[in-house]
C-alpha cells in the first residue's frame, strides 16, 4: 500500500513559441491591418507555417521530465527562477497541457498554486470561504462540515462578516491558507505559498502540512525557495535547472546539488566587497575558484582516499609584498575550523595588475566522511603577520561544500573529523 505509485510522469515537455508571448497582447485590429497592408507577405508566412518551414523561436520550458511519486511521499521541487518548477506544477494541476509526454495520477488532486485564488474583495470572509473552497474543488457539504475548523485555524472569527477588501493582508493570507489546508485531496500540489504570512503563521502552516502527510498519509508535491521548509517537510527532492531534471535524491543531497547550481562553481570578481561571505581589502581578489578531481572534472563529491584539486585564479590591484593562499575545511554544522593548508605563491614584490592561477592538491586520506564548508583566503605578507596594511580576500562558504563519502574500507571512521588507519584481530 505504501509503495503504490500515485503519480508517474513520463517524458513531459512543454514548449512555448516565443513569438506568441511578445508585446503584451495581440490586437485583432493589428492582425487585420497587417493582412490588408501586405496580403502576400501574410499568405507567404501562412504557407510556410502550414508547410512547417517557418522559423519560429521555440522555448522549451520543460523537457524530458521523468519521475514517479509514491503514496504518502512528500516531494520537493527545487531550482532557480525559470527552472521550470511552476510550469511543471501547472501541468500537474491541468492548468496547461504538456506539449509531449504523459502523466498518470491516481487519486483526487488538489492544487494550491496561490493562496486565496478567486477571493472576491466585495464578499465577506464567510462567503469567500465557500467560494474559495468550491474553486479548490470542495463540495458545499465538505466546506460546511469543516467551516468551524477553518475559521478557528485562521483566527479571524470577529471579522467573518466583513468584506475581505477591508482585511489586512495578513488576515487575507491566513483565511486563504486555512481554507486550502482543509481541503483533503489524496495528492496536494503546493507552490511557494508559505512565503507569505508572519513567522508564527508560517510555522503553523508547516505544522499543519506535516500533520497532513504524517497522520493522513497524503502525497504532497511542494515547490519552494524556502530551504528550511523543504528540509523540514520533504523526504525526497527533484532539482530542476533550465527545464531539465538534473538531480533526484533524498533531500539532503538534493539541497547540496541545488546550492552547486546556484553558484555554478564559478566566482565573479567583486573588488573590495565587504559582505558576510566575501570579505576583502579590495587590493587583490579571487576571480575564480573551482573544485576539480584528478581528471580536471568539476565535482564536489569525493571518496575518502581520493585527491581533490582546488584551482584558484586571482588578480592583484595594488603593489604588495608576498602572496599566500590558505584553504580551510570547516564543519558544516558548527562552522568550526577543522584543518587547513597554507602555501606560498610568491615571495617579495607583487606588482599591480598581476594575475595568475594556482592549483592546490589535497589528498583526502585521513578525513572522516562528511560535509565540509570551504574557506579560501588570499593575502600578502603583512596580512599574515597582522601588522601594517592588510591586503587579503576571503571566499567563505560560497563554493561547495566539499562532500566526502566513505570508501567502504574496514574500520573507517564513522564519527569525528579524521580517520586513523586501524585493523582488527579477532581473538578466539
Amino acid at each position: 500500500m505504501k509503495n503504490e505509485t500515485v503519480i508517474s510522469i513520463k517524458n513531459i515537455g512543454k514548449k512555448y513559441n516565443i513569438t506568441h508571448q511578445q508585446g503584451g497582447y495581440v490586437a485583432l485590429r493589428d492582425v487585420l491591418t497587417n493582412i490588408l497592408k501586405s496580403p502576400f507577405a501574410f499568405l507567404k508566412q501562412k504557407t510556410k507555417e502550414v508547410a512547417g518551414i517557418a522559423k519560429k523561436e521555440e522555448f522549451w520550458a520543460l523537457r524530458d521530465i521523468n519521475f514517479e511519486v509514491k503514496k504518502g511521499e512528500v516531494i520537493g521541487i527545487i531550482g532557480r527562477n525559470g527552472a521550470g518548477k511552476s510550469t511543471l506544477l501547472k501541468i500537474l494541476s491541468q492548468i496547461t497541457p504538456p506539449t509531449e509526454g504523459e502523466i498518470k495520477i491516481n487519486g483526487r488532486v488538489g492544487s494550491l498554486l496561490e493562496v486565496g485564488t478567486g477571493f472576491h474583495p466585495e464578499l465577506s470572509g464567510r462567503e469567500n470561504i465557500f467560494l474559495n473552497g468550491a474553486i479548490l474543488g470542495m463540495t458545499k457539504k465538505e466546506i460546511a462540515s469543516k467551516f468551524d475548523e477553518i475559521v478557528a485555524f485562521s483566527g479571524i472569527e470577529k471579522f467573518l462578516d466583513t468584506p475581505v477588501k477591508r482585511y489586512s493582508s495578513g488576515m487575507h493570507v491566513r483565511l486563504a491558507f486555512s481554507v486550502a489546508a482543509h481541503m483533503d485531496p489524496d495528492i496536494l500540489i503546493i507552490d511557494e505559498v508559505l512565503a507569505v504570512g508572519d513567522a508564527e503563521f508560517q510555522k503553523k502552516c508547516l505544522g499543519k502540512m506535516d500533520e497532513i502527510t504524517k497522520k493522513e498519509g497524503r502525497t504532497i508535491i511542494f515547490v519552494s525557495h524556502n530551504m528550511e521548509a523543504i528540509k523540514k517537510l520533504c523526504s525526497r527532492c527533484i532539482v530542476l535547472n533550465k527545464g531539465e531534471k538534473v538531480f533526484e535524491s533524498d533531500t539532503e543531497k538534493a539541497l547540496i546539488a541545488y546550492s552547486n547550481i546556484q553558484n555554478d562553481g564559478k566566482l565573479i570578481t567583486n573588488k573590495g566587497i565587504f559582505n558576510k561571505n566575501r570579505r576583502g581589502s579590495g587590493a587583490l581578489s579571487f576571480t575564480n575558484i573551482e573544485i576539480l578531481d584528478t581528471n580536471n572534472k568539476d565535482r564536489n563529491i569525493f571518496n575518502v582516499g581520493e585527491t581533490v584539486k582546488f584551482k584558484m585564479s586571482y588578480e592583484i590591484y595594488d603593489d604588495m609584498q608576498g602572496l599566500y593562499v590558505f584553504i580551510s575545511l570547516n564543519s558544516s554544522k558548527t562552522k568550526e575550523l577543522l584543518t587547513s593548508v597554507k602555501h606560498e605563491i610568491k615571495k617579495g614584490d607583487v606588482k599591480k595588475n598581476e594575475s595568475g592561477s594556482v592549483v592546490i592538491e589535497v589528498e583526502l586520506n585521513s578525513i572522516c566522511p562528511g560535509e565540509y564548508t570551504l574557506y579560501f583566503w588570499l593575502g600578502d605578507d603583512d596580512a599574515t603577520g597582522q601588522s601594517g596594511p592588510i591586503n587579503y580576500d576571503v571566499v567563505d562558504g560560497m563554493i561547495g561544500p566539499l562532500i566526502v563519502k566513505p570508501a567502504d574500507e574496514k574500520g573507517e571512521a564513522t564519527a569525528g573529523y579524521f580517520t586513523l588507519k586501524s585493523k582488527i584481530e579477532i581473538l578466539k
Binding site: 485583432l28 491541468q94 497541457p97 509531449e100 504523459e102 495520477i105 491516481n106 485564488t117 466585495e122
Partner: protein
C-alpha cells in the same frame, strides 16, 4: 484500496468528448457558486440593490415608447407599444448582457483561470445563468404590465416560455463561447463587441414588429432572437398565432451556434492559461 477511485491522465492533446460533460456535471456546485458570486457582487454595493435589474429594462421601455411608439409611430401589431417593446427588451436584454459578459468571462476571471483547474466551460455557463436570474427579476414587471393591460397568456404560451429561454440561453452561450475564445487572444474584441451588439439590436425585431419586413420576414428567422421575440409576443400578447416552424428554425439555429461555439472554445481552451 482506499481512495483509488479516480485516475487522471494528462496528455498533450484534448478534444471534445463525453468526458467533458461528465466533468461539468461533477463541477455543478462550482457552477452554482460562480453564479451566486456574480449575482451577489453585483448587488452588494449598489444602493438600490436588486432594483437595479429592473431599472434598465424599465428605462429602455420608457424611452423607446416615447420616441418610437409615440413620436415615430412604429406599428406594434395592434397591442400597446410599452408592453410590446417590453417583451422584446426582456429577452433582448437577457441575450445581449449574456453575450457580452460571456465573451469577457475568461478575461475577468484571469487570476482563477491561471491558477486552478476546473472545466473552463463552467465560467461562461455560470455567466449566462447569472443573467437568467436578472431575467427572472425583470419578468416581474412584465407580469405587472400584463395585469395593467389585461393580457392573459395562452396555456400553450406558458409551455413555450422554457423553450424560448433555452433558445436564448443556447444562442447567447454559443456566441459568447466563440467570442470568449477570440477575446483571450485578441484583447480588442471586447471594445468592438458593444457596438456589434447594438447593431444586432436593429436587425432583431425588438423595437419594431417583424411584420414590417413583409415577405422577407422569414430571413429574420435565422436570427434565433428574432424567432424568440416574435414567438414571445405571440404567446403573451396574442399578436399572431404561435408559429411552430419559426420556433423550430430558431431552435436549430441556436443549437448550431452553440455547437460551433463549443467546438471553437474547446479547441482553444488548452491554451487559455498560456496566452491569457
Amino acid at each position: 484500496m482506499a481512495t483509488s477511485a479516480q485516475t487522471t491522465v494528462i496528455r498533450p492533446k484534448k478534444t471534445l468528448s463525453l468526458q467533458d460533460f461528465k466533468e461539468i456535471w461533477s463541477h455543478r456546485e462550482l457552477l452554482y457558486f460562480f453564479t451566486w458570486r456574480d449575482f451577489k457582487v453585483r448587488y452588494k454595493q449598489t444602493f438600490i440593490g436588486v432594483a437595479w435589474a429592473l431599472f434598465q429594462p424599465i428605462m429602455s421601455m420608457v424611452v423607446f415608447s416615447l420616441f418610437f411608439g409615440k413620436l415615430a409611430g412604429v406599428p406594434s401589431d395592434g397591442v400597446p407599444y410599452p408592453i410590446f417593446v417590453y417583451v422584446g427588451l426582456l429577452f433582448w436584454q437577457f441575450f445581449s448582457d449574456a453575450l457580452n459578459d460571456t465573451s469577457n468571462s475568461l478575461i475577468s476571471n484571469q487570476s482563477i483561470v491561471t491558477k486552478v483547474y476546473f472545466p473552463r466551460l463552467i465560467l461562461p455557463i455560470s455567466t449566462v445563468a447569472t443573467k437568467l436570474v436578472d431575467f427572472g427579476i425583470a419578468a416581474v414587471i412584465l407580469i405587472g404590465l400584463m395585469f395593467y393591460y389585461h393580457f392573459v397568456p395562452s396555456l400553450e404560451g406558458l409551455f413555450l416560455l422554457p423553450l424560448l429561454l433555452i433558445i436564448t440561453f443556447a444562442s447567447a452561450l454559443g456566441g459568447g463561447l466563440f467570442l470568449a475564445s477570440i477575446n483571450v487572444r485578441y484583447r480588442d474584441v471586447r471594445y468592438i463587441l458593444p457596438y456589434f451588439i447594438q447593431l444586432l439590436l436593429f436587425v432583431t425585431p425588438v423595437i419594431y414588429s417583424a411584420s414590417i419586413a413583409g415577405k422577407y420576414s422569414w430571413v429574420l428567422a435565422f436570427n434565433p432572437m428574432s424567432g424568440v421575440i416574435q414567438s414571445a409576443r405571440a404567446a403573451f400578447l396574442h399578436t399572431a398565432p404561435i408559429n411552430w416552424l419559426l420556433i423550430t428554425i430558431s431552435l436549430v439555429a441556436s443549437i448550431m451556434i452553440l455547437v460551433v461555439g463549443t467546438i471553437v472554445f474547446k479547441k482553444t481552451e488548452r491554451f487559455f492559461a498560456d496566452i491569457i
